[in-house]
Every structure is written in C-alpha cells, then in structure tokens.
Amino acid sequence: MTVRVQQEAFDPGAELNAFTASVQGAGAVVSFTGVVRDVEGKLAEMLIEHYAGMTEKAIAKIVGDATARWNLSGALVIHRFGQLGAGDQIMMVATASRHRVDAFQAAEFLMDYLKSRAPFWKKERTAEGDAWVEARDEDEDALSRW
C-alpha cells in the first residue's frame, strides 16, 4: 500500500506499470487518473492547498479501510498539491485484486473518500478572478453507498 502526497508532476502510465509489476497474483488492475479540466477555456491555473500534517494520515486511513473491506493485492494513491494547469494530472488511484469486482469497488471507494475526507481544497484562477471550488452535495451523498 503506497500513499504519496507531492507537489511534482507524475507520469500515470509509468506509475500504472510500476504498480502492476509490484503486485503478486493479481488478475485485475484498475486505475483512476484525475485531470485538471479547463473552465470554459479560461483557467489560468488551479491551486491546491492541503493540510500537510493531516493529509497522509487521512489518506492512509482511507486506504486501510479499503484493504480491510476488499481482497486487494495492492493499492496506490498519489495526490498533488500546489500550482497546476489545465490538462495536468491532479491525482491517481490504483488497485489490484484477483477479480475485477474487488478492484473496481475499492477504486471507487477510495475516490469517493479522497474527494470528501482528505484535506485538500482547490481554487480556480481565471481572468475573472479566483474562486474556491465548492464541495458538491452529490460527493457527500456518494459516501452513503459504502
């Protein structure tokens, strides 16, 4: 189980291959990559703030909950903070299991919890000014299915 919180960019394809090589006996590997979407062609940059002391601890707890619940051969979470541009990778999750159902479910669980329980906050900077991204009710609601 690997958790990385970092400012630097990462290469999702290289991370996927390294993760797949590191897991034993997995038949199914699922990855999720989050990419900065442009805001109608106007995004100058996205700023991601985080709570340095808490972030890795909070993510490790979420990963621990996932590994307790599904039969996983491995799990990976990478989340960036700092200054990002449109098209940049924000974060990545990968899960491996014998069968596809566990790998898919665990990846979705990780995403739902990272979204609403890991201490990151996004601000979008456009020509019209800065705006904090607001949490969506449906992201909080997504937790109720687990």
């Binding site: 703030e49 002391g53 909070a58 979204k115 329980r117 201490p119 990151f120 906050w121 991204v133 949490a135």
Partner: protein, 82 residues
C-alpha cells in the same frame, strides 16, 4: 494550542494559524472565543454549518471536547480528487 485555518477560512482570517491559550471545553466554546478576536474571525465563523473541524489532525464534531488537544483546524468541506 495551535489553531489552523485553511482555504477561505484562512483568507478571511488573514493568517494561517494562531497560537492561543484557552480554557474552552468544546470546539463550539473555542469558536466563541475566536469570534471575540475581531470581525475577520466573525466573518470566518459566520456559519459553522459551512465548516469542518479537525482535532489533532482527525475530523471531529463541533461539540467534541478539546481536553488535551494540541492542534485544532478549521476549513471548508474538502474538495480533493478529480
């Protein structure tokens, strides 16, 4: 006790953290003390339903006791992920 602020809570207050002496029993008590520090704090704590709190780096409730807490953080709902 260290009190930390993130995102627009930090921006409204104007500083990322305060070090304070307090006898507040719960988070709610602490918020009352902080509001008394000025209008920036009143603006930040205007509607606590829009806020989340962590005690010693774990998400907590506003009526939770602070006994022994070394670090309390206030922030809006989180927006990680994609």
């Amino acid at each position: 006790m260290d009190v930390l602020y993130f995102a627009w809570v930090r921006e409204r207050i104007g500083v990322p953290r305060d070090s304070i002496e307090t006898n507040a029993v719960t988070v709610n008590d602490l918020i009352e003390e902080l509001r008394a520090r000025g209008e920036e704090y009143q603006a930040a704590f205007e509607d606590i339903r829009a806020l989340r709190v962590a005690i010693d780096q774990e998400l907590s409730e506003f009526d939770a006791p602070l006994s022994g807490a070394r670090e309390v953080a206030f922030f809006p709902p989180m927006t990680g992920g994609e």
